[in-house]
Structure formats: structure tokens, C-alpha cells
Amino acid sequence: MLKRSLISVISLILLWQILIWLYHLPPYILPSPWQVLLVWIRGWPILLQQSIPTLWETIASFILAAVVGSVTALTLAYFTWARSWLFPWVLVSQALPTFALAPLLVVWLGYGMSSKIVTALIMMFFPITSAFYDGLRRTKPEWLDLAKTMNAKKSATLWFICFPAALPNLASGLRVAAVLAPMGAVVGEWVGSSHGLGYLMLNANARMQIDWMFAALMAITVWTLLLYALVDTLLKKLITWH
């Protein structure tokens, strides 16, 4: 697995370099892998420093989205009325273009972290809610029949049967969300911020420092992969059934 991933990464970098050689691309259009590496070597303290706020936003929004998404899915599953009242809003949250909404959020919530957290939250809310809700609705009917013969309370059936049975589905939603979280935070930063990797990219873009743009992009990718790996490992440890 690791070997194959390494091979594909190295091939991609080679392709990148070949493209530059073939078309004689100048560094302000496409910097070479070597130039980007140089930025990493020389500028890692800055990259790391700017990563910290982005990571905080990412983690905070991920946890918040997990909680809000789970509570929404449970509400939808438990209250019949919620399906007709709440579900359209869940869909709207996904239909809204986050990129268009982000500037508004900055106006409403300010330049600080909260506007970024909410932007990322909106991006992650739907995949988490829909995956979990789907799982809650697909509880084995035989289990529900058994619960019925045991004179189960509706809340107890949801809590002791539907909820654990749907955890693997929640886990798939969380895996998708883990990939979306850093993106959400960076989108929020792009629109207006005073720190973070998005801010760094915004500045580099304005100054045509394309090598810095690439370095920041790669930092985001690395953090995203690490977050995914962490979430995936944790979920596999915690949820062993399917």
C-alpha cells in the first residue's frame, strides 16, 4: 500500500518536471518541484506557524460538525414531524454554494476563527447527517420486530439498537468530512482572514509567488491526509462491526 502510494507520488512529481521541461514553463506559471521543495526547506517555520490556526479551525469545525450532524440525524430518525420540517433545511445546507456564502459569514461573524469554523461546518454537515440518518433508517427490520416483542420504548430502541447499528454509516460520513474539513477552513480563510494557510496563499497569489502557493497547497494536502488517517484509524478501532 505504502509502496504503491510512494510510486504514484514520485511518478506525479516526475510528470510535473517533464511538463516544465517540455513547455519551458516559467516559475511564475508553474514552479518546479525543486523550487517548491526549497520553499519548504527555507520557509517551514512560516508554513508551520500558519498551519496552526488552520488546524485549530479544522479540528474545531470537525468536532462541531460531528455533533451537529449526529444530533440532526437522530432528531430526523426519532421525530416523524422533523422529517418534513427539518430535512429540506438539511438539503439546503448542501445546495448553498459555500464559496458564495463565505463572504457573508465573514461579514456576520468577523475575521476571526468563527467564520472559518462555520464555513467548514456547512461543508461537512450534509455528508455526516445524511450518512448517519441513512444508517438509522436502515436498521434491520428483524431487530425492530424483536424490540417490539420486548415492549421496547421508542427512545430505547433508537438508543440501544438503531444508534449503534448506524455507527458504521456515521463513520463513513466522518471519513468524508475529515477530507472536507481543511478545505472548508481554507475557503473561509481565502475570503477574509489575518492568518492561516489560506491567508498565506492569498498573499502569495497577490505577489505572484506561485512557489509559495504550491508549498501551502501541499501543506494543506499533507494535513488533510494526516487527519484522514487519524480519523480512519480511530474509527476502525472504535467501531469493529458492520
Binding site: 428483524e142 420486530d145 449503534p164 458492520h242
Partner: protein, 254 residues
């Protein structure tokens, strides 16, 4: 004692996809005995069981299901399905105590109930696996846990829907004997498609065939259960049951 009542099914009708599964079907299940319902697949055995269990609702005017002591059936029935229906996230002990958690919606179960669950696990020979997860058990063991869960419910009426049909012959024979032993004194309604199983455990045996389904044969073997299915009279009865099973509504032998 449990004071297990009999069950009277009076003129039960059930429509499914525009066709009658049963039409005016009546059946009496004797108190504190094991009644077996035998029938081919798809005849409506499980539907009948689910009607008694309250899983399928009985529409008004479609007959009546009543206990012979006049009290309601609701809350006096335990149900055991064909598959073990164990929750893979819960330990064996927690699976046995599932009903208690579902009825009162709480995590903690009283000490007495825990002891009771352990006692039933001991009855089915799995006390040493109480803390294991179901995935580590064989199919036969899982069905034993399901039996312990049914016993834990401690209900006078027990409904069993082909509970051991997925097991190999040896496990099946073992579990049939165990079930007969631990379910003594309760009114058991045991659905099966296996004539030998019915003859091994049933104190009253009913054969359900046709569409709409009717009871076309019934027998009450007198020997004590679990019976030895190698005995000649049992083998002779098996032939009769098979003949009854093969009979169509027209009365022909298939």
C-alpha cells in the same frame, strides 16, 4: 409457577398482495405445552407467529387472538427468530439482557437481573463466554445465546420461528433437547418446516398447507419430549406428516 395460558386463534384472516394467506383460520394452542406448526415455505407460518407476537397488526374484523385466561397477550410473549439477532456491538451478557434495557431505557441493569442473565447463560452452557462478543461464537453458540435471551424475558408464552433451521443435524438435536428442557411449563408455539423437529419437540403438531392456508392435519403424540426420532412409531408418524405436507388444497398427493 408461570401459569402459562393456552392461546385461541379465532377466525383469523390475513390478506397479502390481494390474496388471502389465511381465511377464517381457527387454532387452539394448549396451555403449558409445546405446539408445533409445520408447513411448507411461504405458506404463512411466520405470519401467523408474527400476528400472535403483535409484530403484524390484526385488522379489526379479521378475527381474534386471545389467551385462554382472558388476560391480554401483550407483554406476556417472548419471541425467538430464525436468525440469532444478536447485536454485534454488545457482549453476550448484554445481549441476553437486551429486553431489560429496551423496556426501561437505561444502561445499568439491576444486580438481580444480571444474576438471572448469568443463570440463563449457565443453562445454555455459555456462562464462560458472557463477556465475549457474538462474532467470536459459532452459529450453534449464537443460537444458544438467543435462547438464553428468550428465557431471560421470562414470559409464559414463547414463540419460536424455525429457531434451529440453520444448524447442522447434531447441533440441532442438542439444541432441541435443551430448548424442551428449559422451556418446560411455558406455552410454546414452535414454527418449523422439518417434520422430524416437530416430532421431536411437539406435544401437539399442526400441519398448515394450501392457499388460503388451512390446518389439514393434527396429531398429539403421547410420548414425552424430546422424543427419540429413531423410534419406529415416530418414523411412521413422520411419513404421515410428510403426506399431509404434500397434500394440496385439492387433496391430491404431490
Amino acid at each position: 409457577m408461570l401459569n402459562a395460558p393456552g392461546i385461541d386463534l379465532k377466525r383469523i384472516s390475513l390478506l397479502y398482495a390481494g390474496q388471502f394467506v389465511f381465511e377464517q383460520l381457527s387454532l387452539h394452542l394448549p396451555a403449558a405445552k409445546c405446539s408445533c406448526l409445520l408447513g411448507p415455505s411461504g405458506v404463512g407460518k411466520s405470519s401467523l407467529l408474527q400476528l400472535i407476537a403483535g409484530i403484524l397488526p390484526l385488522a379489526p374484523g379479521d378475527g381474534e387472538i386471545a389467551a385462554t385466561d382472558g388476560k391480554p397477550l401483550l407483554g406476556r410473549v417472548a419471541y425467538m427468530a430464525q436468525t440469532d439477532l444478536l447485536m454485534p456491538w454488545a457482549s453476550v451478557l448484554d445481549n441476553v439482557m437486551l429486553g431489560e434495557k429496551l423496556r426501561y431505557c437505561r444502561w445499568r441493569v439491576s444486580k438481580e437481573n444480571k444474576e438471572r442473565a448469568r443463570y440463563h447463560l449457565q443453562q445454555v452452557g455459555l456462562l464462560d463466554r458472557a463477556d465475549d462478543k457474538p462474532e467470536s461464537l459459532s452459529q450453534g453458540m449464537r443460537q444458544r445465546v438467543a435462547l438464553a435471551r428468550t428465557l431471560f424475558e421470562d414470559k409464559p408464552i414463547v414463540l419460536m420461528d424455525e429457531p434451529f433451521s440453520a444448524l447442522d443435524v447434531v447441533r440441532k438435536l442438542e439444541l432441541q433437547a435443551l430448548a424442551v428442557e428449559v422451556l418446560q411449563g411455558r406455552t410454546v408455539f414452535w414454527v418449523t418446516h422439518d417434520p422430524l423437529e416437530a416430532l421431536r419437540v411437539g406435544q401437539a403438531i399442526f400441519v398448515l398447507t394450501g392457499q388460503p392456508a388451512r390446518i389439514n392435519y393434527q396429531v398429539e403424540p403421547t410420548e414425552n419430549v424430546p422424543r427419540d426420532v429413531r423410534q419406529s412409531n415416530i418414523i411412521a408418524l413422520e411419513a404421515e406428516l410428510i403426506a399431509a405436507l404434500c397434500q394440496r388444497t385439492t387433496g391430491d398427493l404431490a
